[in-house]
Symmetry: C2
Subunit: 333 residues, 2 copies
C-alpha cells in the first residue's frame, strides 16, 4: 500500500458520482438504441456541451462506455446488461437509491459515529411504517431494494434445493424482488411476500409485470405483532441487519416456531468475515446501518449461527450468493 | 468486468467517507502515540460506542489500521506516514478539504453537467479574490492545496535539473507547498510564491515553519493584470486547469515573455492521457473543474504542448510526478 492507494480511497466518491449521475441521465438506456456521437448523445440526455465530452470519456475510462475511432459512444457489455432500464437485468433502481438517498446520507457519517444515532432512512423517519407512508422516499427505497435483490435472488434460486419444497415466504419482501426471481426459476413453487400493508401496492405493481403473479402473492403483516407465514421455507433477507440483537433473536424464534419439521430458514445479509478484517464492502454496509437505523448492523456468520442455535435450529450451512450477500441456511429438525 | 465491478464503482463513495471521517476524528494522529483498545480509542476520539468497533474494523479492512490479537488498534505503516497530523508528510489537509468541500460539492454533479455552471468553489463564489476573502472556506481550500502539493513538490524537486538554475517562482502558489519542497531539496535556490495579496498571510504562516523562510518569499500579484516574476524557472501548477483555453494561452504567453533565454516553464496538472480513456482519476479531476470553476478542465499533454508552441516555446518534455500529476516542461530558446 502506497500513498496513491490512500488517495484512491479518499477520491473514490467521485467515481461513484460519475456512475450515479450517468444513471440519473439515463446514459446507458439511451445508448441501448445504438452508438451516438458526443453532440447527439449530449442533446438526447440534456447534458450541457461544456462537460459532455469529459463526462462521457470519464465513463469510458471507468470501463462503462466504449468509444470507437469515429468518436461514437456505445455501452460496454456489462453496462448494456445491467444499466439499461429496458433490460430485465437492470440494477438501476439500486443506483437511483444510492444517488438520491445514500450518498447525501453518508455526508453525515461523522455525526452518526459521534452520536450513535441514525441520520437518515427508515429509523430516522420514525420506523418503517412511517417511512413507507412518505411516497417519494418510500418509492426510491423500494425500487432500490428491488435493484439490490435481482442478482441475489437469482443466486438464491440456484443455490438451494428448492425441488424438495413447495412453498416459501420472503419476510420483509419490499417489492418482492427476491420472491419473483425464485418463483421464475422454479415453476413448482408458490411464494408469499410478507411485509407491512403499505407495501402491498408497490409489491403488486412489480409482481404484475413479472410473469409469476399467479404464484406469488402478498400477505400483509407486522413481524413484531403477527406470526410468520406457515410455509416450507422462510427467507429473512436484508432484514436482521436493520435491528438490534434481541429483535433478531425474536425473529429467529418466530421463524423456528412457524416452520414445519424439515422446513428451512434462509437468512442473508452482507455478512462480515468472522475475523472482521477482509470485506470492506460488508463493514461499510454495517456503517450504513449505523447511518440509517436505530439499532442495526451487519454481523458475522458465527454471530448468526449462534442466534440460530439459540432459536432451536441445529443444522446450518453457509452459502455465498452475489453482490457480497451471503446466506446462512438453517434446517428445523 | 462483471456486475460486482459496477457495484464497486457505485458504492465506492462509502470508503471515501470512512477515510474522511477518520481524518476528521484524528484517528491516525491519536494512534501515533501507540496502539489502543477499542474502548479507549473511541473515548479519545469522541466516537459513540455503538459504531466504534465497526468503524475501526472498516479501517482495518481498508488497510489503514491494523488490529492485533488482543484487539488493540494501530496505524498501518502508510497511515502512520501520511495520515498522522504530527508528521511532516501529513496529507490530511487534502482530505479535510475533500471532507468539508468536495464531497458535498460533488452531490451537485448532475446539476453541473446539466447547466455547465460551477456549483461550488472559487468560481461559484465569484472568483478567487472573493473566495479568498471568505476566511473559513479559503482556509480549508488553502490547506487542501498544501496537502495536495506535498508529494508533487517532492517529486518535482527530484525530477528537474535545478542545479542549472538559481531562482524560481511558483505562480498561484497558495500556501507555497510546492515552493517549500523544492527549496528544501535545493539549498542553492531562491524562490518566490506569487499569488493574490489575500494569500500572503496564510503563505507566511506556512513558510515560517518550513525551515526555508530565508529563501522563499511572497510576491503579491494578479496574473490577469501584472507581469509574472523575472526568474530562471516559472511553475504553473494546478493553475491552467482552473481556466478556459484563451486564459491558459495568455498565461503561457506571459510566462514566455517573462523568462530569460534558457529559462524553463514547468506546467503540472492531472494530465489526461492523449487517447482520453486510461486515467479515470484525471478525467474525474476534469469534472471537478466543471463542478468548481466557470471555464476550467483538465487537458492532455498534446493540448498543453500545442499552447506552449503557440506561446513560442520550441522544446517540451513530459515528466510524471506523483499523485497523478504530470509535468510538461518547456524551455525558452
Amino acid at each position: 500500500m502506497g500513498p496513491d492507494d490512500i488517495l484512491e480511497i479518499g477520491f473514490a466518491f467521485r467515481k461513484s458520482r460519475a456512475l450515479l449521475s450517468a444513471i440519473e441521465f439515463g446514459v446507458f438506456t439511451v445508448l441501448a438504441d445504438g452508438p451516438l456521437a458526443e453532440g447527439a448523445l449530449a442533446a438526447r440526455l440534456g447534458i450541457h456541451e461544456r462537460g459532455a465530452r469529459d463526462f462521457l470519456d470519464t465513463l469510458v475510462s471507468l470501463g462503462l462506455l466504449e468509444r470507437d475511432g469515429a468518436s461514437h459512444y456505445a455501452n460496454a457489455p456489462m453496462a448494456a446488461a445491467y444499466l439499461d432500464a429496458g433490460q430485465p437485468s437492470y440494477l438501476g433502481g439500486l443506483f437511483e437509491y444510492l444517488n438520491e438517498r445514500m450518498y447525501p446520507a453518508w455526508a453525515k457519517l461523522t455525526s452518526a459515529l459521534r452520536t450513535g444515532k441514525p441520520q437518515a432512512g427508515p429509523s430516522a423517519a420514525g420506523g418503517f411504517s412511517t417511512f413507507y407512508s412518505d411516497g417519494s422516499a418510500a418509492d426510491t427505497f423500494l425500487r432500490g431494494m428491488t435493484g439490490a435483490s435481482l442478482l441475489v435472488g437469482r443466486a438464491l434460486a440456484g443455490s438451494f434445493p428448492w425441488t424438495e419444497h413447495s412453498t416459501f415466504a420472503d419476510v420483509g419482501t419490499a417489492q418482492g424482488g427476491i420472491a419473483v426471481e425464485i418463483a421464475r426459476a422454479h415453476p413448482h413453487l408458490r411464494g408469499i411476500g410478507f411485509d407491512l400493508s403499505s407495501v402491498e401496492r408497490p409489491f403488486n405493481d412489480y409482481v404484475r409485470g413479472s410473469g409469476v403473479r399467479e404464484r406469488v402473492s402478498f400477505q400483509a403483516g407486522d413481524f413484531f405483532k403477527d406470526p410468520l407465514p406457515r410455509v416450507d421455507v422462510l427467507i429473512l433477507g436484508r432484514v436482521l441487519h436493520n435491528w438490534d440483537v434481541p429483535i433478531r433473536q425474536m425473529l429467529l424464534d418466530k421463524a423456528h416456531a412457524a416452520l414445519p419439521r424439515d422446513g428451512a430458514l434462509i437468512v442473508h445479509d452482507a455478512l462480515i468475515d468472522d475475523a472482521r478484517q477482509e470485506r470492506p464492502h460488508c463493514m461499510l454496509s454495517s456503517l450504513n446501518m449505523l447511518v440509517q437505523t436505530a439499532g442495526g448492523s451487519e454481523y458475522t456468520a458465527a454471530d448468526c449461527r449462534g442466534w440460530m442455535q439459540a432459536a432451536g435450529f441445529t443444522r446450518t450451512q453457509l452459502v455465498p450468493l452475489a453482490a457480497m450477500q451471503t446466506a446462512v441456511i438453517a434446517t428445523k429438525t
